[in-house]
């Protein structure tokens, strides 16, 4: 894919917002890739966790907001536990989700699931799913 690097993208308010909401310094990441190496969900992702940070550093807002990965991460915190720079990657991914959710762009609509699909999932599953995927 073609990536457009520009000063304007790097200084985009989106980057500031991600840093603010996550409380993380994006430039602390030196791309060692340890987060992606240990992530149990990479097989489902289109952009790997270390790439998410790189994209955020470069202000590639649309690529991040449209990525599948931000909805795959289940905040298991394995990446956070292993980052040699102490970056909380899960918080960065949460910040990107929040930017969409705060525009009321929900990721799930549980009303669309049939009773059979919902099955007998426990209340904690429903509540955490709604907490993570709806505004």
């Amino acid at each position: 894919m073609r990536i457009n690097l520009s000063k304007r993208n790097i200084k985009d308010p989106f980057v500031v917002k991600v840093e603010e909401l996550s409380g993380q310094n994006l430039l602390a990441c030196y791309q060692c890739g340890k987060c992606s190496a240990g992530c149990p969900a990479v097989s489902e992702m289109d952009i790997l966790p270390n790439q998410i940070i790189r994209y955020a550093q470069l202000g590639l807002k649309n690529e991040l907001l449209q990525s599948k990965s931000i909805w795959i991460c289940a905040s298991c915190f394995t990446c956070n536990a292993r980052c040699p720079k102490g970056i909380n990657i899960a918080e960065i991914i949460e910040a990107i989700r929040q930017i969409l959710l705060r525009k009321r762009e929900d990721h799930v609509n549980l009303n669309k699931l049939s009773d059979a699909e919902k099955g007998d999932v426990p209340p904690i599953a429903i509540i955490s799913n709604l907490r993570k995927f709806t505004s």
């Binding site: 603010e20 909401l21 996550s22 409380g23 149990p40 969900a41 097989s43 489902e44 795959i72 289940a74 905040s75 298991c76 915190f77 394995t78 956070n80 536990a81 909380n88 899960a90 918080e91 949460e94 910040a95 929040q98 799930v108 549980l110 699931l113 919902k118 099955g119 007998d120 999932v121 426990p122 209340p123 904690i124 599953a125 429903i126 509540i127 955490s128 799913n129 907490r131 993570k132 995927f133």
Partner: protein, 292 residues
């Protein structure tokens, strides 16, 4: 010893087997349990966004209830409740300004929360207060020949600031199952995520995770997998239905709460084990080992 107990929603529903087996075990160990009056939902997930204080109100309100019941500590069973309550507590302890805002928001509460309640998991109570060596003395039915793969999932051990054991290689469950006479099976997937709440709208991801985690446990000879989180329990047990569809060669393996294993060793009645709530029936293997 008397302890305040925060059950949370799922312990009263899908995870009644977790609650009943725990209450029976604690009674056998001489611990009096008092359910927190007027407890409310913990929110299930700790809010990660820095500016989002409102979602810390629910967990902190439970800590106010704890104070109201004249207790300085609260015992949790569900790993999600443990994580959410403990992290919210640590968050406000480290940031007096947000604690003040949360207290101001709950101005109708009689108690101003000061960050002085201790959030504990049942496993910590068993390890640090009852102590495993004392549990060993109370074992009536040693779990001989039962190979148990102990699965921690995420929220008991991560983030490491609040985890109850080593972040990469926890052993608290192995230590417990060992004093109960069982044979713990170490396996590399013991702290790997089960895909959690993805189970609601993306069950296929969970079925795949269950396959990876459970076949790893089976490769170490495990008879059963012990869990401590009701969502892990659902994903690893009930989603085996989907796992078998995807991998017809997959062989079902029973999932038990560690508290059920404890209850068996302490000779609690079978009603307290609530095997009717399981998808994969644990009775055949437990009968084979002469445990029920």
């Amino acid at each position: 010893m008397k302890i305040s107990y925060y059950p949370g929603c799922t312990l009263k529903n899908n995870a009644k087997n977790f609650e009943d087996s725990t209450l029976c075990s604690l009674k056998k160990l001489g611990i009096e349990v008092e359910e927190l009056p007027r407890w409310n939902c913990c929110g299930t997930v700790f809010s990660l966004a820095t500016d989002d204080l409102i979602h810390h109100v629910a967990p902190i309100r439970n800590l106010i209830r704890t104070k109201e019941s004249n207790s300085e500590k609260i015992m949790t069973l569900c790993a999600m409740c443990f994580n959410t309550l403990k992290r919210a507590n640590e968050r406000v302890k480290a940031d007096p300004e947000s604690l003040e805002k949360i207290n101001d928001f709950m101005y109708l509460e009689k108690i101003n929360y000061e960050g002085d309640v201790k959030v504990l998991h049942l496993l910590e109570i068993l390890r640090d207060e009852v102590k495993f060596e004392n549990i060993a003395k109370k074992v009536v039915k040693p779990l001989k020949n039962l190979k148990v793969a102990n699965y921690y999932g995420c929220l008991l051990v991560r983030p490491k600031e609040i985890g109850l054991d080593d972040v990469e290689n926890p052993t608290i469950l192995e230590n417990l199952t060992t004093v109960l006479g069982a044979d713990p099976a170490d396996f590399p997937f013991k702290t790997e995520c089960c895909a959690s709440y993805q189970t609601v709208d993306k069950p296929e991801i969970v079925a795949e995770r269950a396959f990876q985690i459970l076949t790893s446990a089976q490769s170490q000879g495990a008879d059963v997998v012990a869990v401590s989180c009701p969502l892990c329990a659902f994903n690893l047990d009930h989603r085996q239905k989907e796992t078998v569809k995807k991998y017809p060669e997959f062989k079902n393996i029973p999932i038990l709460y560690f508290s059920q294993i404890l209850a068996i060793a302490l000779s609690c009645p079978e009603e307290s084990l609530r095997f009717d709530l399981h998808f994969v029936d644990p009775k055949p293997i437990l009968k084979e080992k002469g445990l029920i």
